[in-house]
Point group: C2
Chain length 309, copies 2
């Protein structure tokens, strides 16, 4: 059944229609980003007069999840008087917004409520929340002009900040991150950081640096964190990650051998695991040698694709 | 022949060793980024006492190309007294640096000298220049703290800026960009912007937005700029682009049909071209229907991979 306009059509994590591949988390939002409207202040003002307009309901920066497992919305009349409104997009012509006030309290770091919500929401619902969260995280830390130090103001319906002192236009940051499974002898390398829940292991990851390809970032991070050399880096899938505003790019790579030199400042542990071990972890088997990452994480997608290969 | 340490081993654009695929431009630098050293001020100070240390030779932000087609270097003694030094990396233990002074003149926009240099340099040499250029572009526009407006200072050997007023640590920006060929009926879609040289057409491109996957960005950009709907987005290859600090991610996508609605604010023209037309353009045939992008651009890699498919 096709989703009706305005209904923000729901799709559970799982097999996609094309090719049977597992769909990454935090993707598939039905919102039209309506780029043209952002640059047209009159058109945006008209949207703010639309009685159908919906404003994302948040507690601090955490989402409100309805009994039906959807993200919660309120009316424009319920928005804060001093709030500025950011256009997340249109769904069947209905404006979907999020409110922003400079100086609002900082979000709770790694709030359990957010991760409970992500575990409940469908990927498309989670992506709507992610778009709001990444923009709010950006505005929260970018109130001043990096070029001259003056106070900046929101422009382009929330998709940028402008400095009236020096004329610089700033656009929201998106930080590319590689996240990858090195493979050797039908096993993959997984690791855990000190802050992970007990038993949880995931794919290794790191930020892409200036003047580096995705393939080079994968090789560098695996060498820095685990001491291994890889070749044949293969891109698998991507998804956004809104803490704060990353683009996660999932890859596979072939390791030359399995001897590890772990960087203890980055990883608490790293181990090679078999396909059966990953299958058990993904099935939630209590005897699995590790706890798999949740379905909304791209590491989950990487594991799912690997055990299906 | 293996490259000798310190020689910044040279490799021409062309077939790679693995799989015969065309290697993207601006990749393959022999420099070890030496992340551990960046965070160790004593170790970095020791590097600055190494008489073998080399400092990139620049005219404004343009590279100096030697008679041998390599990027030019000078000694530490030749660096400007007031310059701060940024660690590009190590080659055979030899520190390779670039100097930075806040308030140095802005680079010449789209300087012809840079593009002449990129046409001459091997991809690995060009990547060394790209690493310097992206970092200098970053520092040039980020002298102030976006969080509080205070003046920031360089830290981590040039790979970040620190605000002593509010304690925020800022890391260089990398802007992910999708660049793609939509395919329909064995033809691909190419376009030109108003600023292109006469006859030049390339792949369409655009910045990835917050909370968007690569695949979604490809579909959105092709719809915004050319009015087409695509599916089956396939990642091909990536490379850095140092104007200012982008990560170019080349993709293919299957277009549902070939009817175009061109956004005249983004594109001057867009056309569908056959495999033979792309082959002719890539061979530099004067009768080709368009002028192909240069080998150092990832669009060139996309075209080369497509005609080889």
């Amino acid at each position: 059944m096709a989703a009706a306009p305005g209904s923000a059509g729901r799709a559970r994590q799982g097999r996609g229609a094309a090719g049977g591949a597992v769909r990454p988390g935090l993707t598939g939002s039905p919102l039209d980003r309506a780029d043209k409207l952002r640059g047209d202040p009159e058109a945006f003002a008209a949207l703010l007069g639309d009685v159908r307009a919906r404003v994302l309901d948040l507690t601090s920066l955490d989402p409100v999840v309805t009994a039906e497992g959807m993200i919660g919305w309120k009316s424009l009349a319920e928005a804060h008087d001093q709030a500025e409104l950011i256009l997340l997009g249109l769904d069947g012509g209905v404006p979907h917004l999020v409110e922003w006030r400079m100086g609002q309290p900082d979000p709770i770091p790694r709030s359990p409520a957010v991760f409970r919500a992500l575990a409940t929401l469908s990927p498309d619902q989670a992506q709507i929340y992610a778009s709001a969260r990444s923009l709010l995280e950006y505005h929260r830390r970018h109130g001043f002009c990096a070029n001259c130090g003056a106070v900046t103001r929101i422009f382009r319906a929330g998709w940028g900040r402008r400095c009236d002192a020096c004329g610089t236009e700033h656009f929201p940051r998106v930080d590319p991150v590689v996240i990858m499974l090195a493979e050797h002898d039908d096993r993959v390398l997984i690791g855990r950081s000190a802050g992970y829940p007990p038993g949880r292991y995931s794919a290794l990851a790191g930020f892409v640096e200036p003047a580096e390809s995705i393939e080079e970032a994968v090789a560098r991070e695996l060498h820095e964190e685990a001491g291994i050399r890889v070749s044949d880096v293969r891109y698998v899938a991507s998804q956004p990650w809104p803490f704060a505003h990353s683009l996660m790019m999932g890859c596979m790579a072939a390791a030359a051998d399995d001897a590890l030199t772990i960087d203890a400042t980055e990883l608490e542990d790293a181990i090679w695991v078999s396909r059966d071990a990953v299958r058990a972890a993904m099935a939630g088997d209590p005897d699995a040698p590790f706890l798999a990452p949740p379905p909304y994480a791209i590491a989950h997608t990487l594991f799912a694709r690997w055990i299906d290969e």
